[in-house]
């Protein structure tokens, strides 16, 4: 997901693996000019990694390029940075998250072939919350269990779920249609996809507690240029 310079010539690698979840590896001498690992340890590229060690930081012994995802560019690349920052901030080390890993690999593949970014981001955010133990319930009201009415207004409490709102003026209220579309991964409608984006953002922020995402700040600055 990301590498950090470590000592004179090494790299610390924050990797997301299928079987072991998020792990930290040291890639010795990977910053030397002729290092074979230098070009291989690239974020957003599927790799096959071997390592030794039991401590918090393991030693990378081999990194092979698996390929299949072309290098990301433009907006897709920026979205992918956001996914990586979410994983780094929210996943504990060494907890396997196989379903999320698959969702992440799908997202990168979809970015690389130029699919629209919003549906990819929403699906990933939902999968991430689910893996963290906060799966969203988008088709029923909390407490009453009543079906969500597409035409009524709701707020979504991160701890409780969907709550009926008095009207559209209620703070953070979304129309029921938004919750149902989000549940079904339908993002064709401009209004519901905007509301879904704001809703997911507030739910992710809740899990981040007070921490700000660097990637969001950087994108904001880029938009201001």
């Amino acid at each position: 997901m990301h590498t950090y310079p470590y000592k004179e010539t090494s790299l610390l690698v924050d990797a997301f693996t299928k079987a072991s979840g998020r792990i930290t590896l040291v890639a010795r001498s990977a910053r030397r000019p002729r290092s074979a690992m230098r070009g291989t340890l690239m974020a957003f590229q599927p790799l096959s990694l071997s390592w030794v060690g039991r401590g918090e930081v393991k030693t990378l012994t081999k990194a092979e390029w698996l390929g299949g995802i072309s290098l990301l560019r433009g907006e897709a690349l920026l979205c992918a940075f956001y996914l990586n920052e979410l994983l780094i901030r929210l996943l504990a080390r060494e907890d396997a998250h196989e379903a999320l890993f698959d969702r992440y690999a799908d997202a990168l593949r979809q970015f690389s072939v130029g699919e629209a970014s919003a549906p990819i981001l929403r699906r990933f955010e939902k999968a991430l919350l689910k893996e963290l133990g906060y799966a969203l319930v988008l088709d029923r009201e909390a407490f009453t269990g009543e079906q969500i009415d597409p035409a009524r207004y709701y707020t979504y409490d991160p701890e409780k779920g969907a709550l009926a709102a008095r009207d559209s003026e209620t703070e953070h209220a979304v129309i029921g249609r938004t919750l149902l579309s989000l549940a079904r991964d339908e993002f064709d409608d401009i209004r519901t996809s905007h509301e879904a984006r704001a809703l997911m953002r507030s739910l992710i922020n809740h899990r981040l507690e007070a921490r700000q995402l660097n990637s969001r700040r950087v994108f904001r600055e880029l938009l201001e240029l």
């Binding site: 997901m1 990301h2 310079p5 470590y6 000592k7 004179e8 010539t9 074979a36 070009g39 291989t40 690239m42 974020a43 957003f44 590229q45 390029w65 390929g67 072309s70 290098l71 990301l72 560019r73 433009g74 907006e75 690349l77 920026l78 992918a80 940075f81 956001y82 990586n84 920052e85 780094i88 660097n214 990637s215 700040r217 950087v218 994108f219 600055e221 880029l222 240029l225």
Partner: protein
């Protein structure tokens, strides 16, 4: 001034050396002992050179790289093509480009790259300065030579965004198999991308 927080000269030196990239407390201690024990003249030269550099070296008004004058030698040269501007990440990249002898235009050195995960955004590198420089009326073509890393690619994307539709020809240096490179020995990533970016023969 004597207080609990005051460091001895030795501690102060070790602390100061830690500002170098990749230098932790142990390496800093090793360097400090080496300088004091084995190479005091070397230490004096280093101290004097650092002091002078800090006082005299500043950013070139044109390319953003280091210089002691208002303009660096390269930017002040009458022999360069002032209509071409090549954008690189670091002064070291500029030196590499110069070694090719294949480029006669001017440069702009960003002094970094956009790295969202490290919190490095457009304001932390010279993107706004670049925009002004590229739109000063002299420049007709901007050649983006940032690294082929995700960060270099993101930086290239945003250079494109801030310059597009402004009447400037914009290009990105090509990547591919090294000259004299035999396919068998090229890394898979490079070869895969060379295939994606193939051209008609």
């Amino acid at each position: 001034m004597k207080s609990q927080g005051t460091l001895s000269s030795l501690e102060e030196l070790i602390e100061a050396l830690r500002c170098l990239p990749g230098v932790g407390p142990k390496a800093a201690q090793r360097m400090a002992f080496y300088l004091l024990q084995r190479d005091r003249p070397g230490a004096e030269r280093l101290a004097a050179a650092l002091g002078r550099a800090i006082e005299t070296i500043r950013r070139c008004a044109s390319c953003n790289s280091f210089t002691e004058a208002h303009l660096c030698d390269l930017c002040a040269s009458a022999k360069r093509d002032t209509t071409q501007l090549c954008v690189v990440e670091t002064p070291a990249d500029l030196v590499m480009m110069e070694q090719t002898l294949a480029y006669k235009g001017l440069y702009f050195v960003l002094m970094g790259r956009i790295s969202p995960l490290d919190g490095i955004g457009p304001r932390d590198i010279g993107l706004e300065v670049l925009q002004k420089r590229a739109l000063d009326g002299q420049v007709k073509e901007v050649i983006v030579a940032t690294n082929f890393t995700n960060e270099g690619e993101a930086t290239a994307h945003y250079i494109g965004e801030i310059l597009k539709g402004r009447g400037i020809k914009l290009s990105r240096i090509a990547r591919g198999v090294p000259v004299g490179g035999e396919l068998e020995y090229v890394d898979a990533g490079t070869l895969a991308q060379a295939l994606v970016e193939r051209r008609p023969v």
